[in-house]
Subunit: 346 residues, 2 copies
């Protein structure tokens, strides 16, 4: 069961700041990049227009051997926000749905939760009371559901949950609510020598178990928020135990810091959808040379969602103003995307 | 000028714990892996013997399609300690030589250092006084020389220093004091589908400016100790400023934690030379399946150095005992390596 959306009083930022996860990914086969095809459209789900043209022009310039803007392949780093940029984050961020479902699954072992907030609110579906528990309540919720097990155990919990959880509107697994045009963009960049990374405020371990299968992005190219882990020998086996303590909040000004720590190179292209991505796009594009920044603008209430300008999912005005000032490309989902989700094509 | 070795009172561990560095690497061309050759010896600088045979057997088992021990290429992760495993750390760890040289270079701007420890000790070459300044003195030395500039400025400082600094015994740049047999091993593993990572107690930014050129390991595959950085806009340009505050100590039990955080997969092969690498080798090899652990034993005072069993460079007894207990391969440098450094072949 997925819960009803909580009120807007629950900030995505608070969730992402505390929801952090490191996990060993299971042995998924790495999808190979499509070879660049001579004439075929590499972005078939994109309508012709300024956004698509800007992408094609950028890739052409940085990959043209001997051209003035050529960038050697090892430096072709592209970073992608996840929530709202690669997959749907509305009406409730997926990782929060996961946390709420985990509380329900664990409740039989915790009879005291019936009388303890914020757990009681979750169990009674009282989203108003949950919102009233504030940041402190959310952090407790996240730490209770994301810590207290080994990294391998957590990866299995995430994988098992994703196998059965369904989005209430689309009745599909959350990993099918990814944006088809962005999947094509990832493959197109890789076919042109780019290395693609996820750089998300979401938990690094919540993403790693499935990013390789869904995005073709292996665990070592996933950057996210994290909690601390501790190395221990347990019955002669080494484990990493997940502690209820924030390690890093990979949002806003944290994104360039994490990009530097994990990748050690400045990206030449970055993709986001909110003010949480501003600093990543600034770091990427305000550096001289041909650079590319893109903001996904959620404008399609019929096929996905049309965001309020400044709501629970960030300060959109600020993101759009920065895009205009820095000549970042803005994708208007309704206008620029032929399809939103892969299942629309079937 | 490189300094004389300090007394053993200066622990490598203390240095590595505090010497941390994050940097943007310059645009070096990525050396490509050699293709596996049908008959040629992939490890020509290794003498025939148990160590070489153990490496060849392991690679054969995990790469044999359809075999019981086959590991898909995305999971072929190999991690290498740096100091004493890939390059020479004797008689003074290179990063400490760098810190001491930086103090001398910066001294004209700091007249007060003539009367302040530990700087006075460095400027007067009084290694006894430096050792007496203890861990606190060393941390101050490292933070003074590694923080207080942007990540790009630090990368340039490291690159410029490496271009002129010379090891006092071999009269060569430190980046030439890398082990030829290990370079061959890195290339051999990559030719067999492995992704090679450095996982070092040394500063991540101290290594990234040169690992691609020297080891063929790009910045995003370098893991190390780090100090904190802060994102700022400075004159309309985004920068990352290096703060005099430890972020992560990538040594001992920190190595598996950092491997999980950066790579998100458990390695199937790990290479080290001291008790600082024990937990990394445990995490790698005590996990079921065919796994490979290797300890480089420094036994060659003529061509390199013969380490004391338990000296400034770690607890060697503990490392060798763990190798015996876990069936890790031990390289006896004197016996197993035909040459130690690349320049011996010229």
């Amino acid at each position: 069961m997925t819960p009803k959306p909580p009120s807007r009083g629950i900030s995505r930022r608070v969730l992402l700041a505390s929801a952090a996860a490191l996990a060993i990914a299971p042995g998924l086969a790495l999808p190979t990049s499509r070879p660049a095809q001579a004439q075929a459209d590499p972005l078939p789900s994109w309508n012709e227009g300024a956004a698509k043209q800007a992408i094609l022009t950028f890739v052409d310039r940085v990959t043209r051997q001997g051209g003035p803007d050529f960038v050697p392949p090892p430096e072709r780093i592209a970073t992608f926000d996840n929530d709202g940029t690669l997959w749907c984050e509305h009406p409730v961020p997926v990782q929060l749905v996961f946390a709420l479902d985990r509380v329900k699954a664990l409740a039989p072992q915790h009879p005291e939760w019936k009388n303890t907030q914020p757990f009681r609110a979750v169990l009674e579906g009282d989203m108003k009371a949950l919102a009233e528990s504030g940041e402190r309540g959310l952090v407790e919720l996240v730490m209770t559901t994301h810590a207290g097990m080994t990294t391998e155990e957590f990866a299995k919990i995430v994988t098992d949950w994703l196998a059965t959880a369904r989005d209430p509107r689309f009745k599909r697994p959350y990993t099918e609510l990814v944006y088809q045009p962005m999947l094509e963009l990832l493959a197109y960049l890789r076919a042109n020598g780019f290395k693609t990374f996820v750089v998300s405020g979401g938990g690094i371990e919540f993403m790693r178990p499935w990013t390789e299968r869904v995005y073709g992005i292996p665990p070592e190219q996933v950057v996210g928020s994290s909690i601390k882990t501790k190395f221990e020998m347990r019955r002669d086996r080494p484990i990493l135990f997940r502690l209820p303590e924030l390690n890093f909040n990979d949002d806003k000004a944290g994104k360039p810091v994490a990009i530097n720590e994990h990748i050690g190179r400045r990206p030449i292209a970055a993709f986001g959808n909110s003010d949480g991505d501003l600093q990543m796009l600034q770091w990427t594009t305000m550096a001289g040379g041909v650079r590319f920044g893109l903001i996904v603008h959620h404008t399609d209430a019929d096929r996905e969602y049309a965001y309020e300008r400044n709501g629970a999912f960030g300060n959109l005005d600020q993101a759009l103003a920065a895009a205009a000032a820095n000549q970042w490309t803005v994708v208007d989902m309704k206008r620029d995307w032929k399809v939103v989700f892969p299942f629309e094509r079937r």
